[in-house]
């Protein structure tokens, strides 16, 4: 798992070869030293756990409609200008139909974490692969792949989601997993091109760099150059992209909701996916004059996810950077 000696010298001229630990162990150690990253990691873990154990954690059934209890304020507001008093049973208040906002935020973690993560994974894998191949091999490959991305790029992404959701959501594909599956596919199909172009841009400039030329000169094979030299050097960009894509997708789901194309709401309470943070943001926005606090829960949750990813991403990038190897 070590880099080719000739190359690693060029890359890390100050990287002294004190090989007591493997690079992987070293990377983990470096990561652990970065407290912000560790914090970010735990926040993400926390949200994943909340998503999994939503049923146990939420104080109420997120679908339970209580007549006459709509738009109750959260705990810290005693009484609204409209004369509604808060109820300690509903710490974050209630929504337009008298459902508990806290329970809905907890359940929202499920949809939002899944919508954020799953397509991102697909997008990054495909995008990185295509971007590296196109950028490094250049010529015909580049031309072909880039025209393909042009075609896909050419669909305004929102338009593409809308038209896919509108035309397919009533088919079996759209019904599958409350429409989540269709949402994944359409999000993934459109978004990988962004990653691909970004990675290609990086690779185009990297491949002119001395260390890559050196590696090529001494006969390192293409796949190895990609995984060992190009990938680590584009990782920083890819990580920023992930840190942005996850919340970006959560927001996209909200925007689709704004257009009436969100996930299918379930009717019975044993359903896995009840609501999303995006859906809650939407509700909060339309009720901003009377009940602005509905926005708080989901907005803070999404912001926390973004921050967690940013810190974890920064730490990861530093930890994996070959030039940092051996440094304190």
């Amino acid at each position: 798992m070590t880099a080719h000696p000739a190359v690693s010298q060029t890359i890390a001229s100050f990287g002294e070869a004190t090989k007591a630990k493997t690079p992987n162990q070293e990377a983990i150690e470096r990561l652990m030293r970065n407290k912000a990253s560790v914090m970010g990691f735990f926040v993400i873990l926390l949200f994943i756990l909340v998503a999994i154990f939503a049923r146990v954690l939420s104080p109420h059934d997120p679908l339970e409609i209580t007549s006459g209890q709509k738009y109750l304020p959260p705990m810290w507001i005693k009484e609204t200008p409209g004369g509604k008093a808060s109820n300690p049973d509903y710490p974050l208040g209630t929504d337009s139909l008298g459902r508990d906002v806290l329970s809905r935020v907890i359940f929202g973690a499920r949809v939002s974490m899944v919508v954020g993560f799953v397509p991102t994974l697909v997008i990054v894998v495909i995008g990185t692969l295509v971007g590296m191949v196109a950028g490094y091999l250049g010529g015909r490959w580049d031309n072909l792949l880039m025209r393909l991305t042009d075609v896909i790029y050419a669909f305004p992404d929102l338009l593409f989601f809308i038209i896919v959701m509108v035309s397919l959501r009533d088919s079996w594909l759209g019904q599958f997993m409350n429409g989540m599956f269709l949402l994944f596919i359409s999000l993934a199909v459109v978004n990988w091109v962004g990653v691909a172009r970004l990675v290609r841009g990086q690779v185009l400039s990297l491949k002119q760099k001395e260390f890559i030329e050196a590696a090529r000169a001494i006969g390192v094979r293409t796949p190895r150059i990609m995984t060992h030299h190009l990938l680590p050097n584009t990782l920083g960009v890819i990580i920023v992209l992930i840190a942005f894509r996850v919340p970006g997708l959560i927001i996209t789901e909200a925007i689709l909701g704004y257009l009436g194309l969100g996930l299918r709401p379930p009717a019975n309470s044993d359903s896995m996916f009840v609501t999303s943070w995006g859906g809650l943001l939407l509700e909060g926005q339309s009720a901003i004059n009377a009940q602005p606090w509905i926005l708080l829960g989901p907005a803070i949750c999404i912001a926390l996810v973004v921050l967690a990813f940013t810190f974890l991403g920064d730490g990861l990038r530093d930890a994996l950077d070959p030039r940092m190897r051996g440094t304190k």
Partner: protein
């Protein structure tokens, strides 16, 4: 820049490259058109199925409308009629897309799509106004302002954040970036409206006219916020990457002034990934945004395509998608040219 090749040689390379890229547009348009066409015709409902709360068009009217617009013809024929052209009932050839004819909008009862998007409305006394008063023109102007805001704030913010890691600037940039990605446009917009229009009273909530610069600021900020946030983060990461490169140390060792090191070597090299995302950002910024236009009553073209899908306004859907495709292609082409300008080691013909 090394040894300067002959000017005519560069010109020739650029021209052939340009022609080749532009020719590529044809298959791109065909594929985009075909996919859109298939998807939209697979969607239940048609242009005469209006909002369920309105009175519906009766069956015999639908029939006469369909034959009036040629929607009763086989689908393949409708597709070619749109993309190329077709003979009408009287045997005359009606040219399609190649002549810039994007078809009649069904929801606007026959008004050509190109007129809706590209013709400016008349001014106060019926005089003709310049093209940039058209829906496309409005979107283009707003998109460019948003882009300028995003770049002029995003790039310096990201660069300074990287140079002054873990200082207040770095945290501000993090805060901006986090807000920019965690809140959808419709939430940011209402916050800004409440703060700047209701409390501070700097602008009106409802703009009466878009001839004043002031009223453009809020929608442009909301539109550009996501791009700004992304640009700032990307710039910061990219700068940190560049900071560690050998040539920076070499440059410093050579005794170059610090500002020269920063501008000439760091920023220029760090710009590559930022430029890449600017291509598609530019395209999506200038084609308008449904949310911005809904929140600010902005007369752009973003609402046109979102509404067209809901209304099954086939020509409008095809038209907007194809126009967007062309814009994206042009934006990406310009990005490829800027690459070469920023980093001359990247060659056009590769």
């Amino acid at each position: 820049m090394g040894s300067q090749p002959k000017f005519s040689r560069i010109e020739a390379v650029v021209t052939t490259y340009l022609i080749r890229r532009l020719l590529w547009l044809i298959p791109v348009i065909l594929v985009v058109g075909a996919v859109t066409f298939i998807l939209m015709h697979n969607t239940p409902g048609g242009p005469w199925d209006t909002d369920p709360e309105r009175r519906q068009v009766d069956a015999s009217t639908v029939q006469s409308l369909e034959s009036f617009y040629g929607l009763d013809k086989p689908l393949w024929r409708q597709f070619f009629a749109y993309m190329i052209g077709d003979f009408n009932n009287k045997g005359e050839f009606v040219c399609g897309l190649p002549c810039g004819n994007f078809g009649p909008s069904y929801r606007q009862r026959g008004v050509p799509v190109q007129a809706i998007l590209f013709s400016p409305p008349e001014g106060e006394d019926g005089e003709m106004r310049p093209w940039y008063y058209s829906r496309f023109g409005y979107s283009l102007r707003l998109g460019l302002i948003a882009l300028v805001i995003a770049i002029s704030i995003g790039i310096p913010l990201g660069a300074i954040a990287a140079l002054k890691q873990n200082t207040i600037v770095d945290y501000v940039s993090l805060l901006v970036a986090t807000a920019g990605v965690s809140l959808p446009g419709f939430v940011i917009a209402i916050f800004l409206i409440i703060i700047f229009a209701s409390w501070l009273d700097w602008v009106d909530v409802v703009p009466r006219s878009w001839d004043e610069i002031r009223v453009w600021i809020l929608p442009a900020v909301v539109l550009g916020f996501g791009t700004l946030a992304f640009t700032a983060r990307l710039m910061r990461t990219s700068m940190l990457e560049v900071l560690r490169q050998d040539y920076i140390r070499t440059a410093r060792a050579k005794g170059l002034a610090e500002w020269a090191v920063v501008i000439v070597h760091m920023v220029k090299n760090a710009l590559i990934p930022v430029i890449t995302i600017l291509g598609p950002s530019l395209a999506s910024l200038v084609t308008g945004s449904f949310i911005i236009e809904t929140m600010f009553a902005f007369p752009g073209m973003g609402r046109a395509y979102v509404q067209a899908i809901g209304q099954r306004d086939y020509s409008m859907i095809m038209g907007t998608t194809i126009i967007f495709a062309v814009l994206v292609a042009i934006a990406n082409l310009s990005v490829d040219f800027i690459y070469v300008l920023v980093d001359p080691r990247i060659r056009l013909d590769e």
